[in-house]
């Protein structure tokens, strides 16, 4: 690279801007987590200093664990997210394979129909979805949430996966056909393993909004037995507004699992985004 594009002041400037923004992005998160380990007096008197042995206190965490049934909420969230993710990936990949592999009448039209959901949010159908769930007796079950999130995730999954499936070599699939493999075997044994990076990208894009959603749990499954962790945290925060230790501890507990998952998946995510489909 020529020296014109890499002068020292320019590099320092770039780092300064990026560092500043990184600080802005992380500051609130760090502030909440750090203060959740302090005693009430220290939270107010010195919010910007890390906990010292003198101000260290876990009272917030004991309150949260004693009060809310967070382990149960966490299980609900996990069941809903994993099940929806499984169906989105399986059904999405199957439909994407059909659309990208076979020529049949109505192929383009079907693709457009399935892509409609990318632009129009499912939330606008809430009124009718609730009636549907009431009619079928699924209100306050995790099944209702799983169905809704599956439908919500499918359009984008099909769109991204079919872009990737077009890149899988035709020769490979035809070789399989000559060897007498059925279309199902070709899909499950040959194509699916090859699009695994794309599946990871879709998984992250699908997972984050499902885990974080407040709207549908609030409307379709607000009962104690089916609360998700996001809804549970929201209600807990509402009740304990004045107990700052508990609020900060609850926030930290809600942040950590997502953060861990993100750090695990982030390399896959970035590779997936930069390798093509979502441009």
């Amino acid at each position: 690279m020529s020296t014109a594009t890499r002068s020292l002041p320019r590099t320092i400037g770039a780092h300064a801007v990026l560092l500043t923004y990184t600080a802005i992005a992380l500051f609130p998160v760090i502030l909440v987590v750090v203060n959740s380990f302090k005693s009430r007096a220290a939270i107010f008197s010195a919010p910007l200093t890390p906990p010292t042995p003198k101000t260290f206190d876990l009272i917030g965490y004991t309150t949260v664990i004693g009060q809310g049934d967070f382990i149960h909420y966490f299980q609900n969230s996990l069941v809903v997210t994993v099940a929806s993710l499984f169906f989105v990936l399986l059904f999405g990949a199957m439909a994407a394979f059909a659309l990208s592999e076979y020529r049949f009448r109505g192929n383009t039209l079907m693709g457009l129909y399935l892509a409609l959901g990318i632009m129009i949010p499912i939330r606008l159908g809430t009124v009718a979805i609730l009636q549907l769930m009431v009619a079928s007796g699924l209100v306050n079950t995790l099944m209702a949430l799983i169905l809704v999130y599956t439908a919500q995730g499918l359009p984008l999954a099909i769109f991204i996966l079919s872009e990737f499936m077009k890149q899988v070599s035709d020769d490979l699939k035809n070789a399989g056909r000559i060897d007498g493999l059925s279309e199902y075997t070709i899909f499950f044994r040959l194509v699916l393993p090859l699009v695994r990076p794309a599946m990871a990208t879709v998984a992250v894009f699908t997972m984050i909004p499902i885990w974080n959603d407040l709207w549908f749990p609030l409307i379709l499954a607000p009962s104690e037995g089916t609360k998700t962790v996001t809804l549970g945290a929201q209600l807990f925060l509402g009740q304990f507004v004045t107990n700052w230790n508990a609020v900060l501890a609850a926030l930290s507990l809600a942040i950590l699992p997502v953060l861990v998952l993100y750090v695990i998946f982030s390399r896959q995510l970035i590779r997936g985004i930069t390798s093509g489909a979502v441009k």
């Binding site: 020529s2 014109a4 590099t11 770039a14 801007v17 990026l18 923004y21 990184t22 802005i24 992005a25 609130p28 502030l31 909440v32 107010f44 919010p47 169906f87 199957m94 439909a95 394979f97 059909a98 076979y102 049949f104 399935l114 632009m119 129009i120 949010p121 499912i122 939330r123 606008l124 159908g125 809430t126 009124v127 009718a128 549907l132 169905l147 809704v148 439908a151 499918l154 359009p155 279309e183 199902y184 899909f187 974080n212 959603d213 407040l214 709207w215 945290a233 925060l237 700052w244 609020v247 926030l251 809600a254 997502v258 982030s266 970035i270 985004i273 930069t274 093509g276 979502v278 441009k279």
Partner: protein, 309 residues
């Protein structure tokens, strides 16, 4: 590929099997309810029976001052919410992506990961964390302004009618700036080296290179980001609900279409919920989003020049 002389093929059942689950779930849970919502907006429940009333619900929405004042207020706030995102979020996203994509930048993976962190957090966490930070009770915000000598500027932003909506929009920008950054970053990486080298040979470097070479090439991505921002903003609900409650206080100054829909549908305090009016509001949101998407598809996207390498 060989020239295809197609013999008459038997019906290929496997295509149907592959498509069926996705199409069934998608149609049953997404398309039919959307259609159902549009239909419901034309009915009204009278003596516990649904009666067809034509456009009466819309006449109420626009004619009855109880509804129309709130609707226009929510729409105006929503437009302001969107303008702030376009003016703040997307330029910052482009700037960060441009800096990140500069060649041989150290720690770029770290910056990328860190700046994306707020995007993965739930609205509940974001709304509440910022509420605490901006709260005059805790005093973090005034304390920090004091360090740079600007303490006099502090007011409880979320509690004042004239600032609350802007403050919430900026919080939302803080949360979502990672998305334009990532997409623009991907677009910038996909510009071939030859184009950049050719520009350098012609003496176009630095800022001029960005404005004259790279920016035109990433315009289609900026278009997609704008329309995603538009759809997301006119569908927003969670942040306002978690930070200000369903009443979107102070005095409805942060009310947007999502919170307005929620209140109409479920009711609040003194008002009973009305699914038909809720459906009418959802229909209006549907139309607004549809108009926006159409403007983008037919007026903007067709005029964007695309370059093929």
């Amino acid at each position: 590929m060989a020239a295809q002389t197609r013999p008459k093929r038997p019906f290929r059942w496997h295509i149907g099997v592959f498509l069926a689950p996705a199409v069934l779930v998608y149609t049953a849970i997404m398309i039919l309810p959307l259609a159902g919502t549009l239909q419901l907006s034309l009915f009204r429940s009278i003596n516990q029976a649904q009666v067809f009333v034509g456009f009466d619900n819309f006449r109420t929405l626009f004619g009855d001052p109880n509804w129309s004042v709130n609707f226009w207020n929510a729409l105006r706030n929503n437009v302001w919410f969107f303008i702030i995102h376009m003016l703040v979020q997307n330029p910052i996203g482009v700037l960060l992506a441009a800096l990140l994509s500069s060649p041989r930048l150290r720690f770029s993976a770290f910056y990328r990961t860190a700046i994306f962190v707020p995007t993965i957090l739930s609205f509940v966490i974001v709304g509440f964390a910022w509420k605490l930070i901006l709260s005059p009770l805790w005093g973090v915000a005034p304390h920090m302004l004091d360090i740079v000598g600007l303490k006099s500027l502090f007011t409880p932003w979320l509690g004042k009618e004239q600032y609350a909506l802007t403050a919430l929009s900026l919080i939302s920008v803080w949360q979502f700036v990672g998305i334009p950054m990532m997409l623009i970053y991907a677009a910038l990486l996909s510009i071939p080296d030859e184009v950049i080298e050719a520009a350098e040979c012609d003496g176009v470097t630095g800022m001029a290179q960005f404005w004259k070479i790279k920016l035109p090439l990433i315009l289609p991505s900026i278009g997609i980001i704008s329309i995603l921002t538009f759809v997301g903003n006119f569908n927003a609900f969670d942040l306002i609900y978690t930070a200000q409650g369903a009443l979107a206080g102070p005095n409805y100054s942060t009310d947007i279409l999502g919170t307005f829909l929620y209140r109409a549908f479920f009711g609040f305090q003194l008002q009973v919920g009305d699914p038909n009016m809720g459906a009418a509001i959802a229909t209006m949101m549907f139309l607004i989003i549809l108009v926006g998407v159409c403007i983008y598809l037919f007026l903007i996207q067709t005029r964007l020049r695309r370059y093929q390498f």
